[in-house]
Symmetry: C2
Subunit: 215 residues, 2 copies
């Protein structure tokens, strides 16, 4: 066999270029020719590693989801309870360049997922995974006595995840919301509201995530 190329690696490289474009200019701007130009390869190469443009988009979304999922599992390994809860929820809030790019990517795909069933399914499983991580952190916190035991972890998880995503997208559209988001952390605010009546846990300074994939 001649010329050896790691297909998965090459696909990953192409997906990264795709995600760059999506993050900057949206999915509509992510044409095959644009991906080809930016990557330095020709359009034929894109066709060689992906069946379709649709296939390429799906690959990009999978890659983005993978990055956030890895972040979450890593957080759950290093932290626990309320600290982990806050870290996971703030992992997708656009407070720095990296998270801003990720946010934009996901919100573009959210819209696309409302018309493309394949993308929707991928987003569904991504959201499910996110909620599961949050649910686990909530259970931890309950076990430690940092959150009331009578709360339904799954419900609270869905709500907190919705809050984080909703404020994120609003902040991308309205600089006022962005400013507010930078000043106070709504995630911590509402978690403390949940913990009301219990001895307030000490505020944990979020360990800055550094070595996670940069998109």
């Amino acid at each position: 066999m001649p010329r050896l190329v790691d297909h998965n690696e090459r696909r990953r490289q192409i997906c990264d270029v795709l995600l760059d474009i999506v993050s900057e200019a949206g999915i509509a701007a992510a044409t095959i020719r644009e991906v080809a130009d930016r990557s330095g390869w020709s359009t034929g190469v894109i066709g060689h590693y992906f069946n379709n443009r649709q296939d390429l988009l799906l690959g990009g979304l999978r890659r983005a989801a993978e990055i956030l999922a890895e972040h979450n599992t890593r957080v759950l390994k290093t932290l626990e309870g309320i600290a982990a809860l806050e870290q996971i929820l703030e992992g997708s809030i656009p407070l720095d360049k990296r998270r801003l790019a990720l946010c934009r990517i996901f919100f573009f795909f959210y819209a696309e997922g409302m018309t493309e069933e394949e993308l929707r399914q991928e987003l569904e499983s991504y959201l499910l995974g996110w909620r599961k991580s949050v649910t686990r952190a909530i259970r931890d916190a309950q076990a430690q006595g940092d959150l009331p035991a009578e709360l339904d972890p799954k419900r609270i998880a869905a709500d907190l995840v919705g809050l984080a995503d909703g404020l994120s997208i609003h902040s991308l559209l309205d600089p006022r919301v962005m400013a507010q988001l930078r000043e106070h952390s709504p995630v911590r605010f509402w978690i403390r509201r949940l913990a009301a009546g219990l001895p307030a846990g000490e505020a944990v300074e979020p360990a800055q995530a550094k070595n996670y994939a940069v998109v």
Copy 2:
């Protein structure tokens, strides 16, 4: 002068057709030809009442925003305090066909607004108006003693609005979230959490909105 046509009325009709298409198939599918075919007019007519496709999209967004804004002001006239608060927040949660259509429209425009500055500005002012309505309802509730006076109305408004929108978009992508949303009302849950410590206000059954514009 010959042939009299109410330009604003005609523009509104065309925008409604546009919103239909956007709601069903997204903004990318809302081509000028498609709008022309659906409306029964020719593409020339679209060009006669709108300068651009961009202009047409902006018109559609303005129309959608107008519908929700009217809803909010109407609620504020008929209800007050926590009842108004809940009504306004649930006005854009996809619990029936009408609100589902509105939700889809807005989330498509959210994505579009991240790349088109004109649309973004319109969305920004729409979000601001929404928060203002919620803020007013919160102040009412505080005045009535239904919510703690030490809460910052603006902050809480931004958070609640973010929660509503975030859960809405998640429910459009994940049927599990949708089911959860139908079972319990997260909006009421968190508002009651806010009111914790105060005498719980009686649950108000939301008056079904009927005579609001159907998109």
